[in-house]
């Protein structure tokens, strides 16, 4: 065939008339049909692709590009030819002679993406996403939370309430005398906290020792926590803490923040993880510090309320310690939402002042509150659903 620029037709006829021979190393597809053309190549000031005596195509060397193929075969395309026209060369010496003449052979070839550019842009994108998570989102959550209308917040709360009841069995405790004591406690705390609208609150019957506030300002106390409590001050501190969350609209802020965070982290990792586990882990990592701040602010609020009521703040710390202290041996919750850090406990102890106000509940009322979930199958109708 050809071994160089000057290889003329006479050369070709020597070993180039093998067009029909199965071993012909040059095959051409013209890009308009799948017909296989066994061709001879002529290297002049351009590449001529000949089948028998007809020239099928002429490709300027500068327009020839490498197309993707396995090693052992050179596959070429031409930017000025039909986009799928392909020349396949299975002979190393012919390939070498031709490629030596093509100055732009590897322009834009597959697999030649600049790794450095991809890495650089990825790192830049990641830094910007992390910056948004770290600085932008908390700011946005703070601003947006106050813009969310109360009605919407309440709706979200109602939706969450339905799910929580679904999970925990959903029985509210409504023993009449217990309810009266609970309402009294809530009212005292609410007044001291300066919340004029009546706070919706209820005791939910479940052994889990917990309490939480829902968006829209509904506070739930679990009977499991009540059972572990030794005096009204412990419960009052916890309820004031939850009211602090309501006051600060922590739920809404948290929702905006964690929603935004999971979205952005998901954007970052995409399907590398194959699951949401990594997204969950990194989100927890980021939100943990965020919610720690919120917990501290709620503690502040609780301390403030208890001071105003003239009641000690230490009991709340005692209660939480009693629960997490015993729980910690069993469960390894690396990222607890209510982490009882040493400084939290210390702060509650430091701010502790001897009781100056009247007890929040009488001994009798406290006993009824503790018994709020013991069914009063008499006059009261159970639950509101």
């Amino acid at each position: 065939m050809m071994s160089g620029m000057d290889s003329g037709p006479d050369h070709n006829s020597e070993n180039g008339s093998t067009a029909s021979q199965p071993g012909n190393p040059c095959v051409f597809y013209d890009g308009t049909s799948s017909r296989r053309h066994e061709v001879r190549l002529e290297l002049k000031d351009h590449l001529a692709i000949n089948e028998n005596d007809t020239t099928l195509a002429t490709w300027p060397f500068a327009d020839i590009r490498r197309a993707d193929s396995a090693s052992g075969m050179l596959r070429l395309s031409c930017v000025t030819a039909p986009s799928l026209a392909r020349l396949e060369i299975r002979d190393a010496s012919i390939a070498a002679a031709l490629t030596a003449r093509c100055p732009h052979l590897n322009d834009g070839a597959a697999g030649r993406h600049g790794i450095a550019a991809i890495v650089g842009w990825s790192v830049a994108a990641t830094i910007s996403i992390v910056a948004v998570i770290w600085f932008g989102l908390p700011l946005a959550a703070d601003r947006l939370a106050s813009l969310v209308p109360n009605a919407l917040e309440r709706r979200i709360g109602d939706a969450a309430e339905g799910q929580i009841r679904g999970i925990f069995g959903g029985k509210t405790c409504n023993n009449a005398s217990g309810r009266a004591a609970f309402d009294k406690l809530m009212k005292e705390i609410g007044t001291a906290a300066g919340i004029d609208t009546p706070v919706r609150a209820a005791v939910l019957e479940t052994p889990v020792p917990n309490a939480f506030a829902l968006p829209g300002g509904k506070v739930y106390l679990f009977s499991g926590l009540l059972a572990k409590a030794d005096n009204p001050d412990e419960i009052a501190g916890v309820l004031a803490h939850e009211l602090g969350h309501v006051r600060h609209r922590d739920n809404t802020r948290n929702m905006i923040y964690s929603g935004g965070t999971s979205f952005l982290i998901g954007l970052l990792f995409g399907d590398v993880t194959g699951s949401g586990a990594l997204i969950f882990a990194s989100r927890s990592l980021v939100t943990a510090s965020y919610s720690r701040d919120a917990e501290q602010a709620a503690d502040e609020f609780s301390i403030d309320v208890m001071h105003r009521l003239g009641r000690p703040t230490k009991p709340m710390g005692d209660l939480i310690f009693r629960i997490t202290g015993s729980q910690a041996d069993k469960t390894v919750s690396i990222l607890s939402n209510h982490p009882l850090t040493e400084d939290r406990l210390k702060r509650l102890t430091d701010e502790d002042r001897p009781a100056s106000g009247p007890p929040l509940l009488t001994a009798e009322e406290w006993a009824s509150l503790k018994a709020i979930c013991i069914a009063s199958k008499g006059p009261t109708t159970p639950g509101d659903h």
């Binding site: 296989r36 993707d68 109602d158 590398v272 990592l285 390894v332």
Partner: protein, 403 residues
Amino acid sequence: MNQMTSVPLHPPPIPGEVSFSGDRDEFRGLVERGAGLELVTFGFYRFWLATDIRRHLWSHTSVDGDAPEYTGRGRELLIGFLFALAILVPIYLAYFIIGIEAERYKAFASFPLFLFFYLFGQFAIYRARRYRLTRTVWRGVRFWMDGSGWAYAARAAAWTLLTVLTLGAVLPWREAALERYKMQHCHYGDLPGRFEGRGSELFKRGWRLWLAAAFPVIVAILAALVGRIGGLPPGGSSIVGLLSLIWVFALPFIYGAFKAIEWRWWISGIRFGEVSFQSDLSGDALYGLYWKVIGWFLLILSLFVIYLITCSWWILGFTDMVHLASRLQGSFAITAAAVVGYLGFILAMNVVLRVYLLRDLWARVAASTAAFRLEAAANVAAKGELANALGEGLAGGLDVVGF
């Protein structure tokens, strides 16, 4: 056909060979390097890695001596992903708000919204195949695909519902119907594709496996019946336990056998004009792959656990084991170490999955395949337009797999 012989009128067609010549070490190097780059680029390299993997698989698979060319680019996948985000973000927001409204009326009432995402996922699968097909060029002519992704998604959803209702009994017919729709809209140049595999055929070959996979359900029903009549015989519970153990160990075999049957059935049903394909993949061809993946998974998992334990000891010290759990709480260093370890775990698993369940599976399936009547594709006129990578982006964003 010169003499009268007992041979049937049609001469036995000369099969066009399908073979895979890719070097395994080269592929492993490719995906290992890709995993490393995914780590460095926080996952963004996945678009280029997917492209490189396809280029490797396509270019080393030869059909009748000629390998197809994959003309897709990583950049296209990135753009498809960004477009998918632009579509999915408002939908997620709308989903959130509708979900709140629905939940207000009844807890968990928003569940039907999952149906919507399922439809989107199926749409993505259809469009992703379309992208891959239009980036596949064989002998200078590209494959392409028309039809509607939404029509496909509606069919897929209806069939899935039926499959769930019949405990999987209609799965073969579902696969046949969906593949028929997809293949009807596939073309090679002006050569139209179709699918001739029948659901009943797949059912005939696979119903025993279906029974085997559903074995625990059957046992549970039987046990309930026996329990109602007169309680388990003595030692009955240990027999049940033994059977469950056997079943767990049989699962990879069941799955491997099913996959082999499915591949063979699928390939043998594909037609492009007169061109047909045949696969003789044997039923036990894939067991080894699944067991190797399980072995690697257990190994990598153990390494991950050892790493986690070592990290917590190293960071928290070896003493005071009593309060270890409470001290683990909220420890930033521990969580960061766990995230790093988890990333390593995932990336290592990705390499394993890509080597065994992508490359090795591909190689075995290709080696089992032959093409017939390829002369019908000898002079096919080029036709068809390129499709965008939106489907690929959506499939990535919704975490759906399929092709």
